[in-house]
């Protein structure tokens, strides 16, 4: 169904209280696509993610998921529609165990999905090994793995990842990229991710948007992505 | 800037990032308010003057709590313990020493020092024992409740220090008011003009002094500890020492309130350290806006005045209205009532200017 994209964002404005950050963001993600968003520090990437999931109100513009307008829904309702969100800076539930953190992730679908826990453990063995450690005491990279695993637990149909590679060791970064690509291929999982790590972008993204000063300023194709210098130029000052 | 003397530099700290109110307009306003306060007794009867002194008495404790809680981030639920300790010390000292030769003033200093010492001991126990957050609040509350319960049962004649009977729950009375020795006969500071000016002067001095303190390096570290104690320590600050110092200063101010209150009414009871009494300073400071000295000062005064007016005119309904006011204030004025009022006023003037 190429005519109803998975996610359609038009003219989105948003920010914090009186301070506008997003100034009319337009982009879309097609069904079964992995799309990256890149941009320098402070241009509003995280703000965009938070507005998409509904943690920040949008002041103008619309967000449609498979043709359904969702920008008027609360965050948990959007999540129930199958959107998973991994925040920047991990935000695991620090005083709950690793296993409990994963179980909370099931709420996205509101039910337990058989075999999902085993799958997640398969992706991230450390989460099984440390199942009863309190999440707040995990190392930074372990927390990041937990945050990704947690969102997968709910079997989302699309995920928003905010800098998923941050703090993760190189081979696991590759692993995460593989997992996402694999899920995308098997289940049609849609992925929107913000990233600075060029290796990861190249390993995962099918398309890429460049963001600057609260707007989408360029849209790159897969071919553009393979052009290292071109990509770099979008991220430099 | 370079050749500014240390004194000038210290004075410049009277305004800074840690306090609201900067620039000419603020200080002009301050001068006007101060002038009004000085002129006030000319237009008011002696009841109002004395009643205002009574309000002023509490402000020191509120300012102290603002320092400890608002700036330092440690919620002490037991400021009344220091209030009580200083108050009883003052009572015991003056009943035994009498009011001649300025001994009441000496007793004031000694009583405040006692509360500071007590705060230093308790504070050392708490801060160096790494007690923080609500636990700090509850330990300090427990201490004040222990003092209350203990003092409440000292009714018997065996509970006397020198000539001073502690006198249990009924409270200790009969201590002299503050008295200034004067060539033409000592001035007894009854709740009237001289006491009004003395308290006002103390208030101004302490308010300005605290402003300097919180904008100084000490104050910077204090707010840093409030925001992120670990980070503050990792910048090389001995955070426990700073917390302790703020606690001692704030508690000494609570002690000052205690002495002034006792001298004002010639009376102190254990109830002044009870649960209700202990919660009140927190309410004043939170409602006024704990993060700033000026809002604390004005807010506390406002709450005291409004609550008294409500009690006078509201009979049985006073408490209901007070409760409702507290709830509404917290809901509509997250940064304290004074901040809300100031912002509201600014918005109004701006709108007028726009027209």
């Amino acid at each position: 169904m190429p005519d109803t994209p998975l996610l359609q964002v038009t003219g989105l404005n948003g920010g914090y209280g009186g301070k506008p950050v997003l100034q009319g963001v337009d982009f879309h993600v097609n069904e079964g696509e992995i799309v990256a968003i890149i941009g320098r520090n402070g241009v509003g990437k995280s703000t965009l993610m938070k507005t998409l999931i509904g943690l920040l109100p949008n002041q103008r513009g619309t967000v449609h998921l498979r043709g359904q307008q969702i920008d008027n829904l609360s965050a948990h309702r959007r999540a129930r529609l199958g959107i998973g969100y991994v925040p920047q800076g991990r935000d695991v539930f620090p005083r709950m165990t690793v296993l409990e953190n994963l179980l909370v992730g099931q709420s996205i679908s509101g039910r337990k999905i058989d075999g999902m826990l085993e799958q997640v453990h398969g992706h991230f063995p450390i989460l099984q090994e440390r199942a009863s450690q309190r999440a707040g005491t995990l190392s930074g990279g372990q927390q990041q793995q937990l945050a990704i695993g947690r969102v997968l637990m709910g079997g989302p149909s699309m995920v928003l990842l905010d800098e998923p590679s941050e703090g993760i060791q190189p081979n696991i970064v590759q692993g995460i990229a593989r997992i996402m690509v694999d899920l995308n291929a098997r289940t049609g999982l849609g992925v929107v991710f913000v990233e600075q790590n060029l290796d990861m972008i190249r390993a995962m993204a099918q398309r890429c948007y460049v963001m600057d000063k609260g707007r989408i300023t360029a849209s790159l194709t897969r071919a553009d992505l393979d052009d290292q210098d071109r990509l770099r130029s979008y991220l430099s000052v | 800037m370079d050749n500014a003397s240390p004194l000038r530099r210290t004075l410049a700290l009277i305004q800074g990032p840690q306090t609201l109110g900067r620039g000419r307009r603020f200080w002009a306003g301050f001068a006007v308010v101060l002038a009004l306060a000085c002129a006030y007794p000319m237009f008011a009867d002696s009841y109002d003057v004395g009643n205002n002194v009574y309000f002023f008495n509490w402000l020191f404790m509120a300012l102290g709590l603002s320092l400890i809680w608002g700036y330092g981030g440690s919620l002490s639920f037991g400021q009344t313990a220091f209030f009580g300790v200083a108050a009883y010390c003052y009572g015991v000292l003056t009943i035994n020493l009498g009011d001649a030769y300025g001994l009441t003033l000496f007793s004031l200093v000694l009583a405040v020092a006692c509360s500071a010492l007590f705060a230093a001991v308790l504070g050392y126990f708490m801060f160096y024992g790494r007690i923080n957050g609500v636990f700090l609040g509850i330990v300090s509350l427990s201490v004040t409740l222990v003092l209350e319960r203990f003092m409440a049962q000292t009714a018997g004649p065996e509970w006397a220090i020198g000539a001073a009977r502690l006198n249990g729950f009924n409270g200790m009375g009969g201590m002299p008011s503050l008295t200034i020795p004067w060539p033409g006969g000592p001035i007894v500071l009854y709740p009237d003009l001289p006491l009004y000016y003395l308290t006002l002067a103390l208030l101004v001095v302490i308010y300005l002094g605290l402003r300097i303190l919180v904008n100084s390096r000490f104050g910077n570290v204090l707010v840093a500890i409030r925001e992120n104690p670990l980070r503050a320590e990792m910048l090389g600050y001995d955070i426990r020492r700073y917390q302790l110092m703020a606690f001692v200063i704030g508690s000494a101010l609570a002690g000052l309130s205690g002495v002034l209150y006792t001298s004002w009414g010639n009376y102190i009871t254990p109830a002044s350290m009870g649960m209700t009494a202990a919660a009140l300073p927190i309410v004043w400071v939170a409602v006024g806006g704990r993060g700033d000295l000026t809002t604390t000062l004005v807010g506390t005064l406002l709450v005291l005045i409004v609550f008294q007016m409500l009690t006078i005119h509201g009979s049985q309904y006073a408490l209901v209205v007070m409760g409702a006011l507290l709830v509404v204030t917290v809901l509509v004025a997250p940064r304290g009532i004074v901040m809300a009022l100031v912002e509201g006023a600014m918005r109004l003037t701006r709108r007028k200017e726009a027209r």
Partner: protein
């Protein structure tokens, strides 16, 4: 004094987990050293031990030949260690400028403080945001601010836990250059990083930590060429 920092048989456990095991580690004065290793290898814990946030179960830590194993954190900072944490530790409710004031007031002459901070803000690219509350910065900006506070202390030894996380490649590169400059001015650097490009850019020596133990040590080329390191850590890229 050749070693500015030295740990001897440093041990730390959490419950049953041996997080650092008999770590012998020495850092030469004036070098730029990177600490790498898998997630959970114990890198951040090692930092916390050096800083005194955790006390070791056994072993010794020497800084400039002085035993600081039991010293309080603030005392270690005063002796010339400084840190940028993995998770930004800033004063959220204070302005960006105020954050730096607190970091610098300790050792900068009050008369020069304002200038010094202006320079630092410029350097961190945060001049435009100096009046903003630090909590409202973007993630990357917070990292910058934190680095600014750490170097503002003018330490002899600077510990950096993932300084470039969340930065664009260009910014990462700029950070590397900045660190090199600081190093040239005499600061010893110990950084934890997962970004190999950055490690390659700055590190004179690299130590790999694995399961709480020193797993390998050497130049970046030696490390990347080590198949064991590739297996546990690097994967196929960059190997």
């Amino acid at each position: 004094m050749t070693h500015i920092l030295e740990t001897r048989q440093l041990n730390k456990r959490f419950g049953g987990l041996h997080v650092t095991g008999n770590v012998d580690f020495a850092l030469d004065a004036g070098e730029m050293h990177c600490l790498i290793g898998p997630n959970g290898a114990g890198k951040s814990t090692f930092f916390r031990l050096i800083l005194g946030e955790h006390l070791p179960d056994s072993g010794q830590i020497l800084f400039q030949d002085q035993d600081i194993t039991r010293a309080k954190p603030f005392q270690r900072i005063r002796q010339g260690i400084s840190v940028k944490f993995q998770v930004p530790g800033i004063f959220k409710e204070l302005s960006v400028r105020q954050n730096l004031v607190i970091a610098l007031q300790h050792h900068v002459d009050p008369r020069l403080l304002a200038e010094e901070i202006d320079r630092l803000l410029e350097f961190l690219n945060l001049s435009h945001a100096q009046a903003q509350l630090a909590g409202n910065l973007s993630h990357g900006q917070k990292q910058w601010l934190e680095i600014g506070m750490a170097i503002g202390l003018k330490p002899r030894l600077l510990l950096l836990d993932e300084p470039t996380a969340g930065m664009t490649p260009d910014e990462t590169h700029a950070t590397g250059e900045m660190l090199k400059q600081l190093n040239a001015e005499g600061m010893t650097l110990l950084a934890v990083e997962h970004d190999m490009a950055f490690v390659r850019q700055i590190a004179q020596r690299v130590t790999v930590l694995h399961l709480g133990k020193v797993f390998a040590q050497g130049s970046i080329d030696q490390i990347t060429a080590d198949p064991r390191v590739a297996k546990i850590y690097l994967g196929e890229v960059d190997a």
